[in-house]
């Protein structure tokens, strides 16, 4: 019965989504409404399904929710507060130690000075939500109609990454704000303000460093150096401020990183959009099909990290070349880098999907329109909704396959379009000289 409901709701939702997509293809130019419609439908479907499971069938986690374990709510925030409150994040007595970069720990240490209770968390979330909605309002609400407000409420409040961020209270919510600030100032030509925010983001979780490629593309070499310098400086300062001295903290920090990576057998495969997770889920599925039993140890060791890291590095290199030499539309550059940031790390939980709102914003503001925009829009919408139709093993759902696939499709389509549009636009094979100034103009939030 449960499987029937899961599969049934998935099929109904997907058929409706494709029906709406066909409608959108015919009508064109209703992008915000299309997004709102898909997000609304998905939310209603999942709310109904979760209600059926949790209230009618008394099923617990994971069937009762599309978010993480309810009893673990907000704990990405509270754990970090408890870890960092004594300014000893890597050697604390708490049941686990921080695996964040020094600046992130310093940030939580500062927050813990305000308080460690729920009101502080509420403030933390409200500040995030305030800037998030400010950004979405700019992108979504084009007129003062009530219909636009309805779309804003749907897209802003009912999307999966936003709800996941609230549920976990992860630092990514604020990282998203830092990146928003980077793009905001960058588009306005306030380059030093922009790189300050980028440096802070990099110093907190490293992976936003992918956006240095944008600076590289704009030939802002000095600014790249400054960003790296600031990121290093705040990291060193953070390390120096911790109890126990810098050397022991560095050793403890790398131990924590190692421990985090070694933990990821089944833990970390749920609500995950990483490519590494995707591969491990396939191993898991094949074990289930061929052996009938899933062995955690085999799943864990089935995909060695080193070859994966090398493969990812090569893929990253290819994509960077693509961005630097071939691609011209700004939203695509940003989308490409955002996908890299979400897809390539070995663990990448679903709250990171919130970053997709940045390229989405640029996409909605773009000036150049192509025939494939509707497909891009469909893929965007699929990345903003819960996809936990069927659970493969424990709380690992098909979403661990769907998100990476959608992102890979996105990348492939962009690569394909990058090449084909180039051919179409440049039949005489004249050299195209991208203008940095023009690039900025095409995609900025006015």
């Amino acid at each position: 019965m449960r499987i029937l409901i899961q599969v049934g709701s998935g099929i109904i939702f997907l058929s409706l989504a494709f029906m709406i997509y066909k409608f959108q293809v015919k009508q064109k130019g209703r992008e915000v409404q299309f997004l709102a419609l898909i997000i609304l439908l998905a939310f209603i479907f999942h709310a109904f399904k979760n209600y059926l499971f949790s209230h009618y069938f008394n099923a617990g986690y994971p069937l009762g929710t599309f978010l993480f374990r309810p009893e673990d709510r907000f704990n990405d925030f509270f754990n970090m507060i408890n870890i960092c409150k004594d300014n000893n994040p890597y050697m604390t007595d708490y049941f686990f130690q921080s695996n964040y970069f020094p600046l992130a720990n310093t940030f939580f240490w500062l927050v813990s000075k305000i308080g460690t209770g729920f009101p502080v968390f509420l403030g933390y979330i409200l500040i995030f939500a305030f800037f998030y909605f400010l950004f979405l309002r700019k992108v979504i609400v084009k007129d003062q109609s009530i219909g636009a407000v309805v779309s804003l409420v749907i897209i802003g409040l009912l999307n999966y990454p936003f709800l996941m961020n609230i549920d976990r209270g992860n630092l990514e919510a604020w990282m998203f704000l830092l990146l928003l600030a980077f793009f905001y100032f960058y588009d306005r030509g306030r380059i030093y303000a922009a790189i300050l925010f980028l440096a802070l983001a990099i110093a907190m979780k490293l992976f936003p460093a992918v956006f240095l490629i944008l600076l590289l593309k704009d030939k802002k070499y000095k600014e790249i150096l400054i960003t790296v310098f600031i990121a290093c400086l705040v990291t060193v300062l953070g390390l120096l401020s911790f109890q126990g001295g810098p050397e022991s903290n560095i050793v403890a920090m790398f131990n924590s990183f190692r421990m985090f990576n070694s933990l990821t057998s089944f833990d970390g495969m749920q609500h995950n959009s990483s490519l590494f997770g995707f591969i491990k889920v396939w191993v898991l599925i094949s074990q289930e099909i061929f052996n009938g039993v899933v062995d955690p140890a085999t799943v864990k060791n089935a995909v060695p990290f080193a070859p994966y890291a090398i493969a990812v590095f090569v893929a990253f290199f290819v994509l960077v070349i693509f961005i630097l030499r071939k691609e011209h539309e700004r939203w695509k550059d940003i989308m490409c880098l955002t996908i890299i940031m979400i897809l390539f790390p070995n663990v990448s939980f679903d709250y990171r999907l919130i970053y997709l709102f940045i390229p989405l914003g640029y996409f909605l503001e773009r000036n150049i329109r192509t025939n494939r925009d509707n497909i891009f829009l469909l893929l965007f919408s699929f990345l903003l909704i819960p996809q936990s139709y069927i659970y493969i093993f424990r709380d690992i759902s098909v979403s661990a396959l769907i998100y990476p696939i959608v992102m890979i499709l996105f990348l492939a389509l962009m690569l394909f379009e990058g090449n084909s549009s180039r051919k179409e636009q440049n039949p005489l094979k004249l050299p195209i000289q991208p203008s940095n100034h023009q690039n900025k103009k095409l995609g900025r939030f006015n």
Binding site: I20, F23, Q24, Q27, R30, Q33, F34, A36, L37, L40, L41, I44, A47, Y51, S54, H55, Y56, G64, T65, P70, E71, R73, F118, Q144, S145, I146, G147, V149, V150, S151, V153, I154, L157, L158
Partner: protein, 433 residues
């Protein structure tokens, strides 16, 4: 985390959003925004209620009533399943037994037919599909000729996320069938197909009696013959159904009256007050609050002799309202609204699934109410009737909804009267010599 704080925050958030939307609506006073206004209120009401229920049920592990705005989850679909069970044989009223159905004969016959499908879940699903289809088609008429891409989200919100719709799915009450029959009545009546329309009205009346209030509309149009036909048809359908039941007709009627008496007795105390929108419920809740405040305790059984008095009072009110409709009010949507509200708030027990009937006046309001000076206010009141209002629980699962829904409906009737009075007393003409 304090439950009351969460409830209060949700309530404040909802009120703030509603006021903001209302202000926007007043500022941009065009009819095109009406549908978006309603959908925005319904969407926000649904979202806030869903979030609150998620916090209570998943984060705080609280059970009924805090974990849902619907009825007890373990009792899901039981209005349907219980009736299906009772009507499975040919003795729905329990002749020779102690208990049985308290529905009218045609309702039992319809449940008997549904029973023939075999599986109770298949019957329920068929009913759901039919109900959703009729509901969707009916609501689509609010959107003019064609659904456009811009208003599909509004259509989905208004059709599938309203409290009355969800409550009907949760209970599976036969009022869904009555609602579909009434839509049939109005649809064919508008098309001028009188016989078909009165057939549907007769079916509705013979199922639950209270749709009989719509005979006032026929009376206003001086369709005396049609009224007679409706009454005869209803009587025939009822008799026809009674004849199919085991036992004599007299025995079945006696058993039905016994069951109805038992039903009313059941709802004489504070039982049945939850998810209720009857005026009698308001009286009972206010009495309950006063007892708690003054005596510090609740005495059950105080309503033992109240029903006849309440019935008399609503009968007088109904006569007065009917006279108003017959002799004073000329606007169709207002007449339908008044009669629908009468149908909802006057019975001594009227559960929230009946709010579904408000879609009928709402659709007529969209078609005809464009000239009203108070259009925005009507819109607001209608929208508020389509969302859950269980902000605070007064006692066990009796929430503020019990007071809010009747109050909103009385306000709509009051506004209709007020508008009439304002129209009747124009400024004195300026004398020019």
């Amino acid at each position: 985390m304090n439950i009351t704080i969460i409830q209060a925050v949700c309530f404040i958030l909802f009120i703030a959003f509603t006021l903001l939307m209302y202000q926007m609506k007043i500022r941009r006073n065009d009819v095109d925004n009406d549908i978006f206004f309603i959908s925005s209120i319904v969407l926000f009401g649904f979202t806030i209620a869903t979030f609150r229920n998620y916090i209570f049920s998943q984060y705080l592990q609280l059970t009924y009533p805090l974990n849902t705005f619907l009825f007890i989850p373990s009792d899901r679909f039981n209005d349907f399943f219980s009736m299906l069970k009772v009507s499975s044989g040919s003795n729905p009223y329990g002749v020779g037994e102690k208990i049985g159905s308290s529905y009218f004969p045609v309702a039992n016959s319809i449940m008997y037919i549904m029973n023939q499908i075999g599986s109770k879940y298949v019957s329920l699903m068929l009913l759901y599909v039919l109900f959703a289809l009729v509901m969707g088609l009916f609501i689509k008429t609010m959107f003019g000729k064609k659904l456009t891409f811009e208003n599909i989200p509004a259509f989905i919100i208004i059709t599938f996320t309203t409290y009355p719709f969800l409550f009907n799915l949760d209970r599976g009450n036969i009022d869904m069938v009555v609602f579909m029959f009434l839509i049939g009545f109005f649809y064919f009546n508008d098309k001028g197909k009188t016989f078909l329309s009165i057939l549907f009205l007769a079916l509705a009346i013979s199922m639950k009696l209270y749709p009989g209030v719509f005979l006032i509309l026929l009376l206003k149009e001086k369709k005396y013959k049609e009224i007679a036909i409706v009454i005869v048809l209803s009587a025939l359908l009822t008799l026809g159904s009674l004849l199919t039941f085991s036992g004599t007709m007299a025995e079945n009627i006696q058993a039905l009256l016994r069951n109805l008496g038992g039903f009313n007795q059941d709802f004489n105390s504070f039982y049945g007050l939850q998810h209720n929108l009857s005026l009698y419920g308001v009286v009972r809740v206010i009495t309950f609050i006063m007892m708690t405040l003054i005596d510090g305790q609740v005495t059950h059984g105080v309503f033992a002799h109240a029903i006849p008095w309440y019935t008399l009072a609503v009968l007088v009110l109904f006569i007065a309202i009917s006279a108003y409709i017959l002799f004073s009010e000329q606007t169709k949507w207002k007449n339908i609204t008044i009669l629908t509200i009468v149908m909802l708030i006057f019975p001594n027990v009227s559960f929230d699934y009946r709010l579904i009937f408000l879609f009928i006046p709402l659709v007529y309001f969209f078609r005809e109410g464009t000239d009203s000076k108070y259009r925005n206010l009507y819109l607001l009141l209608f929208s508020l009737l389509l969302i859950p209002h269980n902000y605070i629980y007064l006692y066990w699962d009796i929430s503020t909804g019990v007071l809010i829904y009747p109050a909103l409906m009385v306000m709509i009737i009051g506004l209709i009267f007020f508008e009439k009075i304002r129209k009747k007393s124009p400024l004195p003409p300026i004398q020019t010599n």
